[in-house]
Symmetry: C2
Subunit: 146 residues, 2 copies
DNA sequence: CTGCATCCCGAAAGATACTG
DNA sequence: CAGTATCTTTCGGGATGCAG
């Protein structure tokens, strides 16, 4: 496999591809890549991580108001998942009224580092994506004209 | 906000966080980050991109057999989405039997580059995640004992 | 071989109301 | 304030059949 776009653009890419495909070829059961991708793929986890990274410690209601569109229930579910995987710490203060603070762990910060790469990429390349979508929308539109 | 874990670990992180949060604070409608994250968050897009990056040009049935667990329908849907966003090119050969080859575009390769960061990270840190999950499973187990 | 159309189900997500 | 409980709705995606 020589001369592909991948090889031409970045030698590092093929090295990392080997690393990913070598142990197990991305099989569904028990594949780390699949597993982590499923987590960060859900609707709210990444947003939560980005906000926690941006603001540091945050209380439940602070997160609830910062993450646009999330419901109380989904914030709870999301935070429980992130805590379970060790990305977020949950600190409860025995006060009245109760106070709970969430913060990224070291593992969470290292995840944030990766996710930021993707987020910045998304911002930088959104123009190209929009353009491509518009082109395909036009092409599709021609098919359906009366 | 000084002295947070984020600041201590990597100065670059805060710079990129600013970049992400500056234009619009991750609002749901029309946010590039959300948009791209939704796409790569679906069950099969990333896997398809990884396989196309690994093998170069691939035919429909080759992809179907390499991506463990995907159905014919979902492969079609996934490839259409990736093509629409400009990540994958689709080349049809007017032959009998018909042949269609898929390949990453330059934009697709640049996405692959980002995704690989995440994939390698996932492999490297899976141990910690498993450990954390086990700990929480035990903790939960105690709550439910008779 | 490629891949669209249709039907259908279970899981995920939203809305709402209630509690320590 | 910080959740939990419950109900309802949405929808991803699997199975199947058909077409170019």
């Amino acid at each position: 496999m020589e001369g592909t776009i991948v090889d031409n653009q970045s030698e590092k890419i093929s090295h990392r591809l080997e690393k990913i495909f070598t142990p197990a070829p991305l099989q569904v059961p028990g594949c780390p890549v699949r597993d982590v991708l499923d987590r960060i793929g859900d609707k709210w986890s990444i947003l939560s991580v980005l906000h926690l990274g941006h603001s540091g410690k945050l209380r439940f209601n602070e997160l609830l108001h910062r993450i646009d569109g999330i419901s109380q229930r989904m914030l709870t579910v999301t935070l429980r998942g992130l805590e379970r995987d060790g990305f977020v710490s949950r600190r409860i203060y025995a006060e009245v009224p109760p106070r709970v603070e969430y913060e990224l762990t070291a593992l969470g910060v290292s995840l944030l580092d990766q996710v930021l790469g993707l987020a910045v990429w998304a911002q930088d390349n959104m123009g190209d994506i929009i353009t491509s979508r518009a082109a395909h929308a036009n092409a599709a539109g021609f098919q359906n004209l009366p």
